[in-house]
């Protein structure tokens, strides 16, 4: 089917508007609700989208998607704002893992998993980072040793968001120790409820338990679970990271409506306006200008995403330019949290047990400052994004690395 045969975007938008009004419940601002109950609700909402023919707008039609264009997705996003949606499926399941599966999965892998994902039956996570690895994503030391028709997996992964509630993962492991680090990796499709896999939740500073650590003890993975080629896992991981930056930056074509991902807590305009009014600062020039800056930053972020995603689609910008969105999202968020903290005053750090209205907003801002750096670390730290932008967007010389062209077994690693 050529693009010309597709339903016109405006027709699609109109059809979506009518269907959404008839079928989806109103938005209840449940972006940050991570309970089991909420997850069940969202899985059902996804199923409702599927049944209505609005799931997977840009996913291939052969695997359950609609096979439409990013313009259709953008139109749909414009219409879903008033409605409750399965936000938490956007990142990482749809925007990162399903998107990577589209690019690298075998026919069997795609046929089995993509429709199930689009029906709301599977949640996925990525197993990339390791406890001793820091920012060096390619420095994987989890090993997968070939034994006939299976690989035997041993090691540990960390910072996987939501793994406790997921069924499947993509797991990057080292399958060859005699070549330099990027060349000995393989990506595996790994069911999480699988013998030898243990998942532990990590408590974050803000009290949340979203991140997990996994331990692998002689886990058997069939060879047909390799995604892409053996020893070519870095290619898959790189694409996965591009999808991640797009999804977290807000520019993914595979997500519907607002992404949960990270973010939040910067205080939206209305919260800050309520705070200013409650604190008697509506006429204070300093407070007004901080409010204006926060508002300006939100608009600048939105239009940067528009510019970069457009440029990536048209080819005006190279793929690594997605890092611009990720970096800006993180540094912009930090500044917006800082502005909110200033505007919130003392009630951001000390609050009544029954806080409500502006006091509740202030307390929420105080708590948000605790996890402020989360978005600047997850999905590739700010430092990694700056490396990518300087080396792969601007073309500056690569950083000296002591592990380049060295068999990975000989590389010094982790803590001293």
């Amino acid at each position: 089917m050529s693009t010309d045969d597709l339903e016109p975007v405006e027709d699609f938008r109109e059809r979506a508007r009518v269907w959404l009004a008839a079928n989806m419940p109103p938005n209840i601002d449940a972006y940050f609700d991570r309970t089991d109950e909420r997850r069940t609700v969202e899985d059902q909402l996804q199923r409702r989208l599927w049944d209505g023919g609005f799931a997977g707008i840009c996913f291939p039609a052969d695997y359950g998607g609609l096979g439409l264009t990013p313009a259709h997705q953008v139109a749909f996003n414009g219409e879903v704002v008033p409605y409750d949606m399965p936000y938490s499926l956007n990142v990482p399941t749809l925007g990162i893992l399903a998107a990577t599966l589209v690019d690298f999965g075998s026919h069997e892998q795609k046929a089995r998993h993509l429709p199930a994902i689009l029906r709301g039956e599977e949640r996925w996570v990525q197993f990339l980072s390791e406890p001793s690895g820091g920012s060096d994503l390619a420095g994987v030391r989890t090993r997968a040793d070939r034994d006939g028709d299976v690989f035997i997996l041993n090691g540990s992964k960390i910072w996987s968001s939501g793994a406790y509630a997921a069924q499947f993962s993509m797991c990057l492991a080292r399958t060859n120790w005699d070549v330099p680090k990027h060349r000995g990796l393989t990506m595996f499709l790994l069911p999480i409820h699988h013998p030898g896999v243990t998942v532990e939740q990590i408590r974050q500073v803000d009290g949340s338990m979203e991140f997990c650590q996994e331990f692998f003890d002689d886990v058997e993975i069939p060879v047909e679970n390799v995604i892409g080629e053996v020893d070519d896992g870095w290619t898959v991981a790189t694409r996965l990271l591009v999808h991640e930056r797009m999804a977290v930056g807000g520019g993914s074509q595979y997500t519907s409506g607002r992404s949960v991902g990270h973010g939040g807590g910067g205080g939206d305009d209305n919260d800050l306006i309520d705070l200013l009014r409650a604190r008697g600062l509506a006429g204070d020039t300093d407070a007004r200008r901080l409010l204006a800056e926060s508002h300006a930053r939100r608009l600048v972020a939105r239009h940067l995403v528009e510019r970069v995603t457009g440029g990536l689609r048209s080819g005006a910008l190279p793929a690594p330019a997605g890092s611009l969105m990720k970096l800006f999202t993180a540094t912009n968020q930090a500044r917006r949290v800082e502005i909110a903290l200033t505007l919130a005053g003392p009630e951001a750090v000390v609050w009544p047990a029954d806080a409500e209205g502006a006091t509740e907003i202030a307390a929420g801002i105080g708590r948000a400052t605790l996890g402020r750096q989360g978005i600047a670390l997850g999905g590739g730290s700010n430092e990694i994004q700056r490396n990518i932008i300087s080396e792969r967007v601007l073309g500056l010389p690569r950083e000296a690395a002591a592990d380049r062209d060295v068999p990975y077994k000989d590389v010094r690693h982790g803590s001293r």
Binding site: D269, I273, L276, A282, G283, T285, R288, R289, L291, A292, E293, H295, A296, L299, V300, H303, L304, E306, R307, V308, G310, G311, S314, A316, L317, L324, L327, F328, T331, E383, Q385, R386, N387, I389, S390, E391, V393, L394, L396, P397, E399, A400
Partner: protein, 369 residues
């Protein structure tokens, strides 16, 4: 620059760039430092032939855009001006030409527009701050001072805003030779952009000098502020893009301790942040240009957001690029200071970032008590 240009727009930008590279290199800009006019009339007239003065003017008046969005087209020209720190009254001539084309009577359109369009006449825009009008029947007399007006001393006409005792605003296009009008040239940071103050002492305005009517004046003035904001931001975006490009090249070419400067991670990370700043500046300027071109509800907001964003970040970016150049960056001989002068002047004219932040806060909160 907008990443989604039509072929005609790309051609306009490329033509303007080639023209400025050839006719207005920085050596030519420097040569105009002590020229009272600050620009070369021949270059300006040739630029007018390329469309510099006609993009916001209706086709019926002899103008016309290339894309249907004249503001976006003209922003491309302004961006090239920034890239070349070019001289010439691009902003005031276009703001005034659009105002005349949209709202002036037949006489002004017929007598003034052709000169602006072909580059033989210059117009200044006195901005939104009004002088005082005494109205007595048909007779309107203006008194007051406008402290900073671009190109006023070089202009043949000036568009002035006034307010009468009842608070009703209006605008008039006056010859700069009008009796009672005193134009005093000012000094300034930019080598070639000229400003002057205008004093009006009982200047009579004839009905056919009015531009627009009482009912439309506030909207017309707001439109002028928005167009000025877009053109200024586009110029700044072009300037910082060029400064950034020069800096990346310089650091790649230069060796220190046996390594290219561009291989030092601390510098690389700063360049990455500057790249991000350049892209955000392009992004918000493009968004503002489109909204102002299409007169959307967000136009006022985006125009001021762009002004606060570029005003706040452009000077710091250029200063750090000077830092990255080392000692050569603070010499007269190097062109960097031409850019620093331009973006610093742009930051403080047509509203400071603080002024535009106040406009945004007014939109969000209502005017300050």
């Amino acid at each position: 620059m907008d990443l989604e240009l039509s072929e005609d727009q790309a051609l306009l930008a490329a033509t303007t760039r080639r023209f400025l590279d050839a006719e207005s290199p920085t050596t030519a800009v420097r040569a105009l430092e002590h020229d009272p006019r600050g620009f070369d009339p021949t270059v300006w007239r040739k630029g007018a032939e390329l469309g510099w003065t006609s993009l916001l003017v209706a086709e019926a008046d002899g103008g016309g855009s290339v894309s249907g969005r004249g503001v976006c087209d003209l922003a491309l020209v302004a961006e090239e001006f920034g890239r070349s720190v070019a001289p010439g009254p691009l902003l005031p001539v276009n703001v005034v030409a659009e105002a005349i084309s949209r709202s002036a009577g037949e006489r002004l359109r017929a007598e003034v527009l052709p000169g602006l369009l072909d580059g033989t006449a210059i117009a200044a825009w006195a901005g939104p701050m009004p002088v005082t009008a005494d109205v007595d029947g048909d007779r309107t007399v203006l008194t007051g001072r406008i402290p900073i007006v671009e190109a006023a001393a070089q202009a043949d006409h000036v568009l002035v805003t006034f307010v009468d005792r009842d608070g009703t605003t209006g605008q008039a296009l006056l010859p700069t030779t009008t009796d009672g009008m005193t134009i005093t040239p000012l000094g300034g940071l930019d080598l070639v952009r000229r400003f002057a103050s205008i004093d009006l002492d009982g200047v009579a305005v004839a009905p056919d000098q009015r531009v627009g009517d009482d009912a439309s004046a506030d909207d017309a003035i707001e439109r002028q502020v928005q167009v000025a904001a877009v053109l200024q931001c586009a110029e700044v975006a072009g300037a910082i893009d060029q400064v950034f490009t020069m800096t990346v090249e310089y650091l790649g070419d230069r060796y220190s301790m046996g390594r290219p400067l561009a291989s030092y991670q601390a510098l690389k990370h700063r360049l990455a942040e500057h790249k991000l700043t350049v892209e955000t500046c392009h992004a918000i300027t493009t968004a503002a240009a489109r909204a102002v071109a299409d007169r959307t509800d967000e136009a006022a907001d985006l125009a001021s957001v762009a002004q606060t964003w570029l005003g706040t970040h452009a000077t710091e970016l250029v200063q750090d690029c000077i830092q990255l150049h080392g000692g050569i960056g603070v010499t007269w001989e190097h062109d960097l200071h031409l850019y620093l002068r331009r973006v610093t002047v742009d930051r403080a004219t047509h509203g400071t970032p603080e002024d535009h932040a106040d406009r945004i806060a007014d939109l969000l909160l209502g005017a300050a008590s």
